[in-house]
Amino acid sequence: MNRSSLSRTALLGVVSLTAALGLSACGAGNEKSSSDTTSPSSGGTSLSGTLNGSGSSAQEAAMAAWKAGFQTANPSVTVNYDPAGSSAGREQFIAGSVPFAGSDAYLTTDELKAATKTCGAAPIEVPVYVSPIAVIYNLPGVDKLQLSPATLTQIFAGKITQWDDPAIAADNPSAKLPSTAITTVHRSDGSGTTDNFTDYMNQVDSTDWTYGQTDTWPIKSGEGAEGTSGVVAAVTQGQGTIGYADNSAAGSLSKASIKVGSSYVAPSAAAASKVLDESKPVPGRDATTDQAIAVNRTSTTAGVYPLILVSYQIVCPKYSSSSTANLVKAFETYVVSSDGQAAAAKAAGSAPLTSALSQKAQAAIDTIAG
């Protein structure tokens, strides 16, 4: 990590320069400099200043809604978010160059140590964005597709290569399956969606999926496409294609239902948030502030959709400047509030946090020293 610091620093320079330029452009209109921040945490409107974040591109659409909502309530605050990628966000947070990061994966043990050093205390991680990952496919004549976890895994592992395979037929007794070859479409760039999708396959069927959990597609077969929109485009254009993408991006493509317990569940926001109630916190961490979730992908409860992406925001429990601390606290409070979650659901099609999770997250955010 140290070795790459030069390139990261160069990148950061560019980013902060851009931020500074954007800032000065806004500053002129607001007639207020970025640094003058006033009274602490006395409800929204008295806040001012600039809050910079970086990280997950999956949160980008939701972040646009949060930025709009928060800045409307606090007209003299500017929130900047650079969707540079989860790893880049975590790295910049650990380097202390951004006060908050968005990440599709919680901090690894090593990162947690480094971040604790940066913050001066264990960082706060709260889930803010939960979204179902849809298995999308394009197979003319088949409008409804049901897949058991093993079948799904075998398809993506390249073990089932034709649509009329007996395993698929067994899951779909009433469908007329053609003999078309299956083309699996995966992300060609590193991605939190791939990370969660491979985690799912790894948990439900590790005999067929032997590649573990990884954010870069590990197999040298199938079709690669850049970004969520690239996957959706490739699935749409090909025949006999199947891929995975954020549910909100699936558009008019058909989505497969996944077998959970004894029934098949289609991706939906409600089914996605249900699985969180069944999941446990990641062990070995202080669950009150570090709310990293080990998603229970193997749940058998009816109506649960376990193929989800959980994205976090990572903040420090204390900051050197109290103005930053107040900004972070107010912003995160808004993000996990029912208003913030509803705004994200509307803008990005995410599953709002359940009120229990929302309250738990709020309790963690309250520990930020203002």
């Binding site: 990590m1 070795r3 790459s4 030069l6 390139s7 990261r8 591109s57 540079a84 990628g85 989860s86 790893s87 880049a88 975590r90 790295e91 070859a181 083309t183 479409v185 060609s188 760039d189 590193g190 991605s191 954010d215 870069t216 590990p218 040298k220 077969s221 199938g222 079709e223 690669g224 496409a225 850049e226 690239g230 485009a233 490739a234 254009q237 090909g238 025949q239 006999g240 294609t241």
Partner: protein
């Protein structure tokens, strides 16, 4: 007397201008060298840790050579296809503009070709994904069914059309303007007397082109092709968007599994890369840097060797 006095009076300011301009020109020239050296030093120092890293630290748990080799292969393959398509095409287009087209048609056609160079590569990427790729699919299916005994078309055909061959076509369109513009310029510089002499000896127009224009322009055509090749090697966005990458090494041009290219791989993997993975990407950038250098040197060598035979002197 008075005129020489005026000259004397005029000299100092002219000298100042000379000196300033010389300084500016020298500064600009050395700035290029400094920038180039800076890039080289950055790539070497940041890429170096990747060469000493252990297997487990490199993405995919392979050696650094095994990681970069498929990328080099893909980079060269894609650029070679592009050059194979674009070189004859650009020579033809340039020849048409310089020697065949009526003047009224030649100029607008030249502008149109130049305009292709102004299209951003992201737009070429979108065009590749949404327009070209679906229209290539039937061709791939046909190739797979009828000539799959040729290793290049061994299939199975990609159902989406996002293959190395499609990328080659996109890259060919991208390098067409620069190659065409250069070819056109050198074709136009053929000595008029040579051409007229050939025609006077009874040569047809094609014979005239073959006897006078091509020998004269040979080195120019090589540089045009190499400039195009340089652009194709480094193209990032269009390749990253269009190509379905898998990290394999294969000459099969029509299937879904293709080798990635160095530039596209950096663009795709950098946002989620941490630690040594970043060094590995920089190291692959260093390899591309060296590759481009080698190709440019080779091109220059070819041009220099041909110079005395070209009739340009």
């Amino acid at each position: 007397m008075s005129s020489s006095a005026a000259e004397v009076k005029n000299r100092p300011p002219r000298q100042l201008g000379d000196r300033v301009f010389k300084g500016l020109a020298t500064g600009a020239a050395s700035l290029i060298l400094i920038a180039l050296a800076g890039v080289g030093i950055f790539l070497t120092s940041e890429g170096f840790p990747a060469f000493t890293a252990s297997k487990s630290q490199i993405p995919g748990e392979v050696t650094i050579v095994a990681y970069i080799w498929p990328l080099v292969f893909g980079t060269v393959l894609g650029a070679a296809i592009a050059l194979l398509i674009a070189a004859p095409l650009s020579i033809g287009v340039a020849l048409f503009i310089s020697h065949y087209a009526p003047r009224r048609l030649a100029a607008p056609l030249g502008y149109l070709i130049d305009l292709l160079a102004a299209v951003p590569s992201v737009v070429y990427g979108l065009w590749g994904i949404f327009y070209l790729a679906p229209r290539m699919t039937p061709l791939f299916l046909w190739l797979d069914q009828h000539v799959s005994f040729i290793p290049l078309f061994s299939g199975p055909a990609s159902p989406t059309g996002r293959t190395m061959l499609t990328v080659g076509v996109v890259l060919a369109v991208m390098i067409l303007p620069i190659s065409t513009a250069l070819c056109r310029e050198v074709f136009l510089q053929t000595p008029r007397l040579h051409e007229e002499a050939a025609l006077a000896l009874g040569a047809t127009r094609w014979e005239m082109v073959r006897m006078t224009v091509f020998p004269h322009a040979r080195s120019g055509m090589v540089s045009a092709a190499m400039l195009g090749l340089g652009r194709a090697l480094g193209e990032t966005m269009a390749v990253a968007m269009v190509l379905s990458v898998s990290g394999v090494v294969t000459f099969n041009l029509i299937s879904s599994t293709n080798p990635s290219t160095i530039a596209a791989n950096i663009a795709l993997q950098f946002p989620e890369a941490t630690g040594v993975a970043v060094n590995v990407l920089v190291a692959s950038g260093l390899v591309l840097f060296i590759l481009t250098f080698l190709i440019n040197f080779a091109a220059r060598a070819v041009v220099n060797r041909r110079k005395e035979f070209s009739g340009a002197n």
